[in-house]
């Protein structure tokens, strides 16, 4: 199996960290708690201890510029959501009649552009680094779904601008969507439907997917460089890099 395969060479999921000895808040030994809640807590605690969520040390190769793109993509998404919340709160007509509203629309617009620029750079960076190796195929797949959902989200945003662009895009896009049989259920000419989807459903889906993607990345850590593979049974370092 190729080194770049996301399946065969997978070392499997990261094991749960040992639950630290001691007692829970109820005085019951933590390791003996039973039930769904305890199982979920144990699973979360094992897969994603705080040390992994907020790491203070990383492999030295993470110093490469390519790792910046993912973080900047999230930073742009933050401003997409913040400016979007302001626009949603003030109402759909506000930005057409107010200079301040138009400025917030511009912030939303350029945040989206930044988001896509860095999202695509992140995607290419992960492709050329074969970021799916060593059991990270699901991380790649969630990232691709995020990319596709982002495109549909931006598309619905263009549809609800209430200007000539939204009219023209809706009229043109309808034929492709109608051809799939979905036009009666996802009616791009229906402003109300597209508005609800854009300001509510897709942002929630995007945010959840981003959280899932980050959890995946943090729980496994970044993949080793190509040509410096992880060898499970090696008794010593596979890398000629300096020790920790």
């Amino acid at each position: 199996m190729s080194e770049l395969s996301g399946v065969g060479s997978s070392p499997g999921p990261v094991p749960p960290a040992p639950i630290s000895p001691g007692s829970s808040a109820t005085g019951t030994p933590a390791g003996r708690d039973k039930g769904w809640t305890a199982a979920l807590r144990g699973r979360l605690d094992g897969r994603l201890p705080l040390e992994e969520v907020l790491p203070t040390r990383q492999p030295a190769f993470v110093g490469s510029w390519v790792y910046v793109f993912g973080v900047v993509t999230i930073a742009a998404l933050v401003w997409v959501l913040v400016s979007g919340c302001v626009l949603a709160f003030m109402g759909s007509a506000w930005w057409h009649t107010s200079d301040l509203g138009h400025f917030f629309n511009s912030i939303h617009f350029w945040s989206v552009q930044m988001f896509f620029i860095f999202l695509v750079l992140h995607l290419w960076g992960q492709y050329w680094g074969a970021g799916w190796r060593d059991g990270r195929a699901k991380t790649w797949m969630v990232g691709v779904v995020l990319f596709l959902v982002s495109i549909v989200t931006a598309f619905t945003g263009y549809l609800i601008q209430q200007n000539f662009d939204s009219q023209w895009i809706a009229v043109n896009a309808k034929d492709a969507i109608n051809a799939t049989g979905l036009g009666g259920f996802f009616n791009v000419l229906n402003f109300g439907q597209m508005y609800g989807i854009h300001v509510m459903l897709f942002p929630i889906a995007l945010t959840l997917l981003v959280v899932l993607h980050i959890v995946q990345v943090r729980s496994r850590g970044v993949v080793r460089p190509i040509g410096d593979p992880y060898i499970p049974d090696a008794g010593q370092s596979t890398s000629t890099g300096a020790s920790r």
């Binding site: 209430q162 023209w168 992880y230 890099g241």
Partner: protein, 321 residues
């Protein structure tokens, strides 16, 4: 039953890799502030596009012949929308299929549009108050047989080929058009007043957010695509990937739009369905890259990774020596 895959921990996974201090929160904070600064500068300097919506009122005022021609074709059931097919009508004018695969037909009509009624007769019937001539014309038309209506409309539509604008009225050579010229004249007046924009939006509900009917009516004329042509937004101009003005638009749709520039696809009667199928296959391919031999090996064959991890490989070489 296959054995469970062996588990590793990160300490083992990064064995032999030098670990360095890392401040995630600081990195996120700097990135967030940095992006905000860039976005604020772009917003202040370049703003964002907002070309006002096209309206039926503006259409009727600037190109009344096109407006009346479109309205007459709606009445005759000859417009694109009148013959579209699902999800608007039961026709098949714009139905796309791939061999026996006809998802558009299978889905059926869900946004029902009756072009003569919705775009012409219904709005006119709501404007008859105080206009006895219009009320009489409507009655004459509605009481006529379908054959008679078709004769009037066919003759009128043919005559519109030589229509002229005289004193703001669309006039055609004399002929037997029944009440159709009166109906068209009143519809033009209604549209010029802005009333038709509102009447196409109304339904039995007080609140309205569905612009399907006014947009479909606009799209049937020549005025609306003409505005798009001027803004370089038509299909042959990379279509909806662009937007008004010198703005980047939905650049991420470039691959979707690209297929419409391929003559073999652009000229196909099922072009939209073909593009959707191609893009679905490509999207699935992107999703499944880790599992596709060859595609997943390209990063090893073309060593872009040598740039990505340049320092790491230098360190490896140095330690080997």
């Amino acid at each position: 039953m296959s054995a469970r895959r062996p588990k590793i921990d990160k300490a083992d996974y990064y064995r032999g890799i030098r670990m360095t201090p890392y401040d995630l929160v600081k990195e996120i904070a700097i990135a967030t502030v940095g992006i905000l600064v860039v976005v604020l500068i772009l917003s202040a300097v370049l703003s964002s596009p907002d070309v006002p919506s096209a309206t039926i009122q503006a259409w009727a005022k600037s190109d009344p012949v096109d407006f009346v021609t479109t309205a007459a074709s709606e009445m005759a059931g000859q417009s694109d929308v009148a013959q579209y097919g699902p999800p608007y009508t039961s026709g098949n004018g714009s139905v796309q299929s791939l061999g026996p695969i006809e998802p558009q037909v299978w889905a059926g009509v869900h946004v029902a549009v009756n072009a003569p009624l919705d775009f012409v007769l219904q709005p006119l019937s709501q404007a008859t108050v105080g206009d006895q001539t219009l009320a009489s014309a409507l009655t004459t038309f509605n009481d006529a047989s379908a054959t008679q209506q078709a004769k009037w409309l066919t003759a009128y539509n043919q005559a519109l080929g030589s229509a002229k604008l005289v004193s703001s009225e669309v006039t055609v050579p004399s002929g037997d058009y029944g009440p159709v010229p009166v109906l068209m004249s009143r519809l033009l007046t209604l549209a010029r007043s802005g009333g038709l924009d509102a009447l196409l939006l109304t339904s039995e509900h007080f609140y309205q957010t569905d612009y399907s009917k006014p947009l479909l009516f606009l799209s049937d004329g020549g005025y609306f695509p003409g505005l798009a042509q001027a803004q370089e937004l038509t299909g042959s101009q990379w279509g909806m990937m662009n937007e008004t003005g010198r703005y980047p638009g939905q650049a991420w749709l470039w691959l979707f739009t690209l297929w419409y520039q391929v003559p073999a696809i652009a000229s196909a009667s099922n072009a939209d369905l073909l593009v959707v199928v191609v893009m679905t296959i490509l999207s699935l391919g992107l999703l499944l890259v880790p599992f596709i031999p060859g595609v997943r090996d390209i990063p090893r064959w073309i060593p872009v990774h040598k740039l990505i991890w340049r320092q790491h490989y230098r360190n490896m070489q140095r330690m080997t020596k």
